[in-house]
């Protein structure tokens, strides 16, 4: 691990100032992703800014209109077990609990979860080619081991999937990511936070170097009470998703009134396709309608040697979850 200086930030402004003063500095929250990658030599910050002592960033509060405001330093566990989250946004709670393990969720922060790095086999491999780790070196996953990689949103330079479970319900619910830098505060819609790899796969998120995530806002969504997160993986627990589905649905008199749907394990960014949702609205809540919606999501895929199976698996998972949820809703 490269040597680094440790700085303790007392406030958000303090953290932003330290970042702005030092190109080589990184924030550390739970450290579950960063410390691991520092050991691998993938992350080599010269300064770490510990943000854990900043007060006021651990609260989870529900507003009168039914939205959530979640502090960036709230632990993944605290949010997953929060009674309001469990009752009003079950898919957020389920997605968090489907990720990692209790030990990791206790340490992991909400802000850190949004920014966790991909889990492509070649990313931490020193001797492999990876355009995220070493821009311009190439991508060994395209013709190599790509079972965990994406089939949507890939480019000839990178096919790594976004691994976050949490990001899927947040994407489905149009969450807003609040950030603060030396120039003040910004609110970033979560769909704008993660960038497609394109020609610059190393440029991953729409955050300036001096900006820190302070909170995640989830707007009210009455149908989110009837939501579910289903994760399919190589073992029952403690594994990243091959395919996952975050879904909420409203059904009135047998007709779909609203759908919110994001799919994991398949996209280079947390994947949602509003066209598919729009196509389902107004249709009878049947497997045919869900299946037609799923087909829209996967109308333009690029499968690789080891991950083509995900397309059918994901479509079937979508149909299954929406069918179960609409059964519940009747």
């Amino acid at each position: 691990m490269r040597e680094f200086e440790l700085v303790r930030a007392a406030s958000v402004a303090d953290a932003a100032k330290s970042l702005a003063a030092n190109e080589d500095a990184k924030l550390i929250a739970g450290g579950t992703n960063l410390v691991d990658l520092m050991k691998e030599g993938v992350e080599t910050p010269g300064t770490l800014i510990d943000i854990n002592a900043i007060s006021g960033l651990r609260d989870v509060t529900m507003s009168d209109d039914g939205g959530l405001m979640i502090g960036a330093l709230a632990s993944n566990s605290a949010v997953a077990w929060h009674p309001d989250v469990q009752e009003h946004f079950p898919m957020i709670s389920q997605a968090i609990l489907a990720g990692a393990t209790t030990q990791i969720r206790n340490m992991a922060s909400m802000g850190g979860n949004l920014l966790q790095k991909n889990r492509c086999f070649y990313y931490p491999e020193e001797n492999a080619r990876c355009n995220k780790r070493e821009p311009g070196s190439g991508c060994d996953a395209i013709e190599g081991i790509n079972r965990m990689c994406a089939v949507l949103g890939t480019s000839e330079h990178c096919i790594a999937a976004n691994p976050s479970d949490l990001c899927l319900p947040l994407r489905a619910l149009d969450a807003i990511v609040h950030v603060e830098g030396t120039n003040g505060q910004r609110a970033i819609p979560i769909e704008k936070l993660h960038k497609l790899p394109g020609d610059t796969p190393y440029d991953e998120v729409d955050l300036r170097h001096d900006e820190m995530i302070t909170a995640i806002e989830v707007p009210p969504s009455p149908i989110a009470r009837n939501s579910h997160y289903r994760k399919l993986r190589d073992r029952t627990s403690y594994a990243f998703a091959l395919v996952s589905v975050a879904a909420a649905i409203g059904v009135e008199d047998g007709i779909i009134s609203e759908v919110r749907l994001a799919v994991g394990g398949v996209g280079t960014v947390p994947w949602r396709d509003e066209e598919a949702e729009a196509a389902m609205v107004g249709q009878p809540a049947t497997q045919e309608a869900f299946s037609a919606g799923a087909a829209i999501i996967f109308r333009e895929t690029k499968a690789y040697s080891g991950n083509g199976f995900k397309i059918d698996l994901a479509k079937r998972a979508i149909v299954r979850v929406l069918s179960e949820l609409s059964g519940d809703a009747k």
């Binding site: 200086e5 550390i28 030990q103």
Partner: protein, 162 residues
């Protein structure tokens, strides 16, 4: 070498030390304090052998920088027993033969102790899910689940409010 100073509590004892900023809590416990009950399995957050309590929450010592523990309170496997009186989870693991080589055992115990206070359900499936962060290469899982179930019931009886 870049150094930092931190103070925290380990098993009730106040520690103040200066060390390389890169030191993980796991290495600090094992190499600086000679508390070798906490094990290094994978060193990458994947096996749970290094599980300790930080401010009462089970955590992975291998992914925790010691410098980030400033002001916190840590409990390791060495701090669990009360003198010669074993913690109910320790007793249950022995009674149920919940290990073979024992390498994962202190992590399993720390996890099980923490789990008893977390809002999990009571089925064996819930125990397996709640304990899934602790891998056992010897495959002692069935006996570990049995031990955890017995200890959990005992703890609930002894400390109904805990």
């Amino acid at each position: 070498m870049k150094r930092t100073t931190s103070s925290f509590e380990v098993n009730g004892t106040r520690i103040s030390a200066e060390f390389d900023t890169r030191t993980t809590l796991l290495d600090f416990l094992r190499e600086h304090l000679d508390l070798t009950g906490t094990k290094k399995g994978c060193n990458h957050g994947q096996c749970g052998a290094c599980t300790v309590m930080i401010d009462g929450q089970r955590s992975l010592a291998c992914l925790t920088l010691a410098a980030l523990c400033d002001g916190r309170s840590i409990t390791t496997i060495e701090g669990l027993a009360n003198g010669d009186k074993l913690h109910p989870v320790q007793k249950a693991l022995i009674e149920h033969d919940g290990f073979q080589c024992g390498y994962c055992t202190s992590g399993q115990i720390m996890s099980a102790v923490a789990m008893a206070k977390e809002p999990w359900g009571e089925s064996d499936d819930e125990v397996r899910e709640a304990m899934s962060g602790n891998l056992c290469r010897c495959g002692a899982y069935p006996n570990i689940v049995a031990a955890v179930q017995e200890a959990r019931a005992k703890i609930a009886k002894e400390q109904p409010d805990a």
